[in-house]
Subunit: 212 residues, 6 copies
């Protein structure tokens, strides 16, 4: 069929005015207050390809630290293009013996893929407290359901690298040790609600910089 210049292109386009149209995506305008569903959208006219890609996970994180691990995030705050799209990702580098301490993600499930090395990972179910443990090698994947405590450990002899995706733009991160010991949560209260010995609590508060 013969289509003359420009006729076709204007038919539908003109009927769908630019303003208020683009909700294919909603690149976060981080300068505005977020809402429960995410950030307001940046004007589409200011959106470029660079908003949909991110280079920040390309470099190995610095694992020269006590847990011999690093987590490099690409959540909405770092990668505004994921705003409203229900997906995000972080990079995990674990040196030999490295540990991602026990933690939860209140807002989404996690899917881990091992790129290098060997990782021992696990989570605990609620109510029945069943422990689900797996040793994961290169190319293996594991899923950690939303809100349940889980961890990863480099159980191999070489550095490990993994990527963890989440089914939400920001799953949240609650590290159990930090919640208990790295703030001003009164020691006697921590003792009452966890049955941990006061000495244990004070010790970990001491090393994590907690007070009270």
């Amino acid at each position: 069929m013969y289509l003359p210049y420009f006729f076709l292109f204007s038919i539908l386009l003109a009927l769908y005015p630019s303003s208020a149209l683009v909700q294919d995506f909603c690149v976060a305008d981080l300068s505005l207050p977020p809402t429960p569903a995410g950030y307001p959208c940046k004007k589409t006219s200011k959106v470029t390809s660079d908003d949909f890609a991110y280079h920040g996970l390309a470099a190995k994180g610095n694992t020269s630290n006590i847990i011999s691990a690093a987590v490099t995030p690409a959540l909405d705050g770092q990668f505004p293009g994921v705003n409203g799209l229900g997906i995000s990702i972080v990079r995990l580098d674990l040196a030999v013996g490295g540990v991602i301490p026990l933690h939860t993600h209140p807002a989404g499930s996690e899917l881990l893929v091992v790129i290098e090395g060997t990782i021992c990972a696990g989570f605990v179910s609620s109510f029945e407290n069943v422990v689900y443990l797996k040793t994961l090698n290169k190319g293996d994947i594991m899923v950690f359901p939303q809100g349940l405590v889980h961890f990863q450990i480099n159980s191999g002899k070489t550095p490990a690298l993994a990527f963890a995706s989440f089914g939400t733009q920001n799953p949240g991160l609650q590290i159990i040790d930090f919640a208990l010991f790295k703030n001003d949560f009164p020691t006697e209260l921590v003792n009452k609600v966890t049955f941990l010995d006061v000495a244990q609590i004070k010790k970990l508060k001491g090393v994590l910089g907690g007070t009270n």
Copy 2:
């Protein structure tokens, strides 16, 4: 395992910059326009424990009125901390003979717990119009599905107290009598769409302050 001062605490925290991070909760900034998912969030730096608690349901409502009942709400407008969290609550005080007139909640289901007294409650299903009635005593609970007409009556000899929770921050409230008689809904239209006698309509408009 020995953890030197401050090392651990900065590892993960620094990787998750404060800005754009906190979506654990979203205390409503009521000064900004709401969105379909709720209000924009107040800055986390301005959030305190007081944002998550509310004292307004502590006092008995004033039941010295015609329905001998009072409803005291803690929805998003009164309790901004529930914004985005999918939950809210109201306090119901019913004096002897008190009545919460027939109404619906367009946006959420209701779960009532009786604290004192005896309450006769019920709802009507859609399509088939089955009436589900229960007499509830202290400690009993009843659920009223979203959008269906329901009511509560104090059917005992003492004042009744109950709390009603909703699975949303603001379930809406449509009192059937108010929708029909407490506005400028033209009498002849009300008659046509409800088959209520004009005299009945005018009478109730008169007492409720409706016009037209």
Copy 3:
């Protein structure tokens, strides 16, 4: 039951202050940036009946064009009253031989009702690529699942009119031809990712005003 003036009306109303209350609806304030859940709400005090009705689909669209068809939308951008309500609609006019070219709606399913004429419509499933075709006459309806390619053709001898509703305020619209040929998508890339001949690509880019 006798109800004195004004007593009843103030009981519940006063307990539900106007501000922050009305989330029955959320007429879009198109002057503000949208969020993933829709636009911020216009102040309820400025909302009138006119916000909930729209006259723009009353006139037949201009089908004197190459596809002999017109689509007149009432999505959130044109009809702000649908904001947050999960529904929208467009009017389709197809002259004899008219065609709505192959397209998808990334964000919602479509339900078409034929008002006049005869329409041949179809969609293709994902993974298995099954083609589902139907010839629809006056009063017939057809549903097109979210995100799947579909089309409508006037297969009769008289003009056709249909309305297509969507289960979302703005389903998006991706016309396959426009995505391939009506922009600056490099010809060699289009060839690589679709296996279409370069000559075919250049031809359609030429007529649709695409470049590169």
Copy 4:
């Protein structure tokens, strides 16, 4: 690019085994119990084009009745193809003077398009009870937010026809009169919760076949 026979087609298809694949749609298997998200899906191998189209709205409903109106539904029960797709539709025929009595849809918003005639329609907001009324002519549309009482009346001199879409597969239907008078809702309770006169209640129970 030259593509030999069959090579390409098997690459991706084989990697996506048929079983468990098709969630593009989920045609309802009405012989199985529904779940909160809809019905279980019929086997894709048994799905045909006929599952996605429906002829039941093609005929004018019988309006020779007391309300001089008819509603012909294409919800999930009648049109299993909409299961899981978030959309459904009904046909409204209103003879001269016809009325769709005051009702709500607990589960979804409604979008009405007038095909023939003139319809006076309106809804009432919750909390503040504002009445939003419009007179709609051919081609006009109006939206009725989820859960709010609304009605339609043929306010013209000729029969009226309209289609009403919903942003859900089954929005529910609660006709206020039926909920109050067309069941065994005890008269004294109706009186207490609506303030309608006992005589009025008995009269309407009488005509609608209610008891008690």
Copy 5:
């Protein structure tokens, strides 16, 4: 308006056949496997008023135990009527000194109302680990966002009673101590992922019945 016997009642009812109609609610059929959205629905013909009320929270729980507290649930498993309705509730009895140990609800936010006594409650935010503490008296309410660790303690001199509602039919329950010590989570792993001393771990495993 005069309405003859039965005419009106059949108009709309007949057009909405009983089967497949009732999705106002979906009382759980606990004999069938659940789905991600809840349980399949019990046949509406077998649903009675008793499905929507529950008496199990009327009695004080037995607090003669080590934590001097009891939690009595009315989640979907105990109260099938809440299935699909997005709401549930539990009763909390705390004797003097009673404690609900540190825990999370992976699937929903919690809203607590104090009925008797004085409760000290708090939660910790993710990422920044801010502790939000409040002392709650009779009639006070507090909200605990989904997935975050929280606790309640009876900080008064008399028994405390509270009800906690959730914006979901089953929010899940992960008690941190149980997840760490009341199963076969290997001690050396617990030590690695929490930095708790082996002695502390073994001690609490011992008292909670954990192994390994």
Copy 6:
């Protein structure tokens, strides 16, 4: 605090009976019909750690084919553990010159991370048809919004490997070429709805095994 054997463990556990408890996760029972929200859950008593991990993405896919690429999925059908968790993943192997042809995912957004090699990727927006292109190197990520056409090409000189996550358990896959040419979509219809030349259509139908 001293905790005697077993006392604590039974307090809360007994109050939360096993049945109907586990909705932390919902491992798919693929032998049962799916529902719009996913598959029914396998009994928790039959769930093991192996349900949460998957080894199928560990091996490089076979790229000795015409597109010099392979996609290995871990969606719900292959990895039942992701059922209800809102996440899934696939492995992409692209040999030199390899191509993932233009396609969409109707049900979810995609987040790609490049593990090896160089990938040129892009998507096209709806309505305005803007092309967003990026060249991605090792460690780079890119997001492709739900429902929009996109592609990936190995633009480097070595094999490329990437993982693509989705914010849903099965995002669907519609390959545009397959939808047009690899089925029995009548040639004349394809011509009418895409304006592709009949010769082009017949050619690609020929190589893809399409008919009609």
